[in-house]
Symmetry: C3
Subunit: 210 residues, 3 copies
């Protein structure tokens, strides 16, 4: 058996490891990743039904319910409500990563069932990942094209599992894997919320050989 | 006894549980809760004593010491100074919750003694909780009245205890408990700071039957 | 050996201790500490090379790469990119602490190697600490002078060690230690990045007798 002092050391060590993190997140906003707006679904919005309220909403934004912006998905904190939502059950988010990488796995992190103030039916269910990379030179700047031609797999988020779920790119795909600079998450269904789907946090991991 | 590998697993699991949280906080700002300004005590302010400095302060806000706003109390981070303060030892904060609930318990979280840069005499001591709920229809919108008529108990925060303290609504009160949409924390005393009282974080927990 | 329930309690307790923190950070921004701008090295900036782009950059800040501001160093979060950078390998940051203290130790916290998206060559290596305190009265306000005359030691940050490293002020220095209100970290070298050096987080600990 272990004595108390040893136990404290093991706990401390394990905790520090978890706090420090284990691999870089190439989709992190503060690390330089950015949302590609024209390839990302529009934010969820609810406008009031009366016409005079719509006019009032246009002028003042009052009585208009609006999602946080999509960059919330590449920002670490995952308190209730710190998510981006889109209308309905199908939508996509495109992210220019901070580096061009070979994607090995991603983490999708939703809030836990037990802290949610609603049933978490708005969590994503089936989704695809795609990558893009083609460089073009334009006006002396390197630009990455928006052709998401590299398929990176089909995945499913399980709301009865842990809040943060890791999805590994299957070997069959990884073997033919292309280096990508941008990634797209295409959501095909959610957990039975017909009105909107919300994403809390996406992390993208991989290898970045020089 | 346990071997190291098993121990690491247990620690990891326990840690994830703590990180994920255990029950919804219906007072969380990002979840939709909001401060009710006209029922909340004015922010703590110190103005300079010289009249020309007061004038200068009015124009520029320079030399005026001012508390963070009250919504700081329903925002998770609790680093030193991330609190809302009011003048003296008595004051109140009113919060419109994100849902209407039967309140079961609350958590008040102050900074720890050991990280505070001052004696934590400005922490709240005796306080009451009240709830409000009456709906009224006004201009096609449901509005909740401000009549805090549901008494939810007397409590005392102990500065020699842990920073985050859970207060359960007593059974005698819970039995007659009404569903409430707003909550008020009325502070009656602090830990002997005559000038101001500061609140770091209030979480409100309960049941939200459909 | 320990049974599972006891183990969970020990883990919980240890975890809460780590979360609560152990000693005040007198350099924390939210606690009242502030950067002294005229004694702090200029932020890292990269301007485009073409003259028309420079003009464009002056007007719009587009194509100009600019570091976060220096107060990032006294702000807790240390996600990748949440740092302040200066040009080259030598620079300094001056901080007016929240209280005047006898400095006992400091913590410098960089991101971990394993989560960094680049080799962490931009981390500081050799650095000195200096303190300042002389009060002067000016226009009815107490002001602290900028004479950093109190030497507080030479230190070295080890990038193969843990992300957060504690540096104790040596006894020989502490014995003659003066109470200081401001502190300066003078960086003399980094881990072989010739272009820029980045600082993530500096915490300053000490004794604050009344
Ligand atoms: K988020
Ligand atoms: K707070
Ligand atoms: K920082």
């Amino acid at each position: 058996g272990l004595v108390r002092r040893q136990l404290n050391e093991v706990i401390h060590e394990q905790l520090e490891k978890m706090m420090d993190g284990t691999s870089p997140d190439y989709a992190l906003y503060t690390g330089g990743a950015r949302i590609i707006p024209h390839l990302t679904t529009r934010d969820y919005e609810v406008w009031p039904s009366k016409s005079y309220q719509v006019l009032w909403g246009l002028l003042t934004r009052k009585n208009v319910i609006k999602s946080n912006k999509a960059s919330t998905v590449i920002t670490p904190s995952v308190n209730v409500g710190e998510c981006w939502c889109f209308n309905g059950t199908e939508g996509q988010i495109a992210i220019r990563l901070s580096r061009s990488i070979f994607v090995t796995h991603i983490t999708y992190h939703h809030i836990g069932r037990q802290v949610s103030i609603d049933p978490i039916s708005s969590a994503p269910k089936d989704f695809e990942l795609w990558g893009a990379n083609k460089k073009k030179e334009r006006k002396n700047e390197i630009e990455y094209s928006d052709d998401f031609v590299h398929f990176l797999g089909n995945y499913q988020y399980d709301i009865s599992g842990r809040p943060a779920q890791i999805f590994n790119v299957p070997d069959s795909i990884a073997m033919n894997n292309k280096r990508v600079r941008s990634i797209m998450m295409k959501v095909h269904s959610n957990h039975e919320n017909p009105q909107f789907t919300c994403l809390y946090r996406l992390q993208v991991h991989g290898v970045n050989p020089l």
